[in-house]
């Protein structure tokens, strides 16, 4: 399959670095990994690049993950695939994210979970 371009959105530089490393160690071929510190930066990168999958935090300054995902929905984008990575594991948040994201992963997150999500995503693309 064609190598994927991944966008990681989180206001924590160390969390972005963690997800980047997990992505690069996963089984799926990766073309490049881009980073954004908030939803607004993410939208600019999404406009300028063809991005296959987006990992996003929820609580971020300037533009939150919820606002980013709602904007992508408003724009009617079918890609990128959307994965929420958040400390908020509440029922309320999960319900809010239904229809906005395809995967919801709770922090603390193991790198193997990032790999498993990418594998599932890749097999969805292949099918």
């Amino acid at each position: 399959m064609k190598p994927l371009t991944i966008l990681i959105v989180d206001d924590s530089a160390t969390m972005r670095q963690f997800v980047r490393r997990a992505v690069q160690l996963s089984d799926v071929p990766i073309a490049s990994v881009l980073e954004a510190a908030n939803g607004k930066e993410a939208l600019a990168l999404l406009d300028a690049n063809e991005i296959d999958a987006l990992f996003t935090d929820i609580n971020m300054p300037v533009m939150s993950g919820s606002e980013l995902l709602r904007e992508l929905q408003r724009q009617g984008r079918s890609t990128p695939a959307r994965i929420v990575v958040s400390t908020d594991g509440s029922q309320a948040r999960r319900q809010e994210m239904e229809g906005l994201a395809q995967w919801y992963v709770n922090k603390p997150v193991r790198p193997e979970v990032v790999r498993d999500v990418l594998n599932e995503l890749a097999s969805n693309i292949r099918d």
Binding site: A22, L25, S26, P111, E112, R115
Partner: protein, 175 residues
């Protein structure tokens, strides 16, 4: 079917050979029909590796997390500790023809054994240190069977990479 034990050495097992390892030992086999076995895995952790292309298979059975706890023993039997044993296992696997990016790694053991000489927590510590070392070295874990309170007997198949966990005659898990 012949049996042999290994103590920190590369084993080139014959066809269908079963290699049994004990605490602080590791084995790597290049025979696609071989099995590596370890018994009575309690708070110790077994690290199993397998390359699906070359069928190189390896297993380490370590007792404690850090070699600084006993430098003399670490020199004599580095497989006793996660931080000396795991690198040794991987180096031996690479030397035998395994490729890092293809390796499937499984972690088993780390049970909480009451009355054990190193306390109830050592199993959990062993598991955490193993995961930490693997992450630091850019290796993700394919599967795991960790914790609980029961000992495990493991059989790693070089043909399939599967690990069968038994208790007595009963197969309790397959990874």
């Amino acid at each position: 079917m012949s049996q042999s034990t290994s103590s920190s050495a590369l084993v080139t097992a014959g066809r269908g050979e079963r290699v049994v390892i004990g605490i602080g030992e590791f084995a790597v086999t290049t025979s696609p029909d071989a099995e590596i076995v370890t018994h009575a895995l309690g708070s110790c952790v077994a690290v199993c590796v397998w390359d699906p292309v070359t069928h190189v298979a390896g297993m380490l059975h370590f007792l404690l997390p850090e070699s600084k706890l006993n430098a003399e023993r670490a020199t004599r039997q580095p497989g006793t500790f996660a931080d000396t044993g795991i690198p040794m296992l991987f180096q031996a696997a690479y030397k035998a023809g395994a490729v890092k990016s293809r390796l499937r790694v499984q972690l088993l053991g780390g049970a909480a054994i009451t009355g054990g000489p190193n306390g109830l927590d050592v199993g959990r510590r062993n598991a955490l240190v193993a995961k930490k070392l693997l992450w630091q070295n850019g290796v993700l874990v394919k599967g795991e069977s960790l914790g609980g309170t029961d000992t495990r007997t493991l059989r790693l198949s070089a043909a399939t990479g599967k690990v069968v966990v038994t208790r007595g005659r009963e197969v309790v898990e397959e990874l």
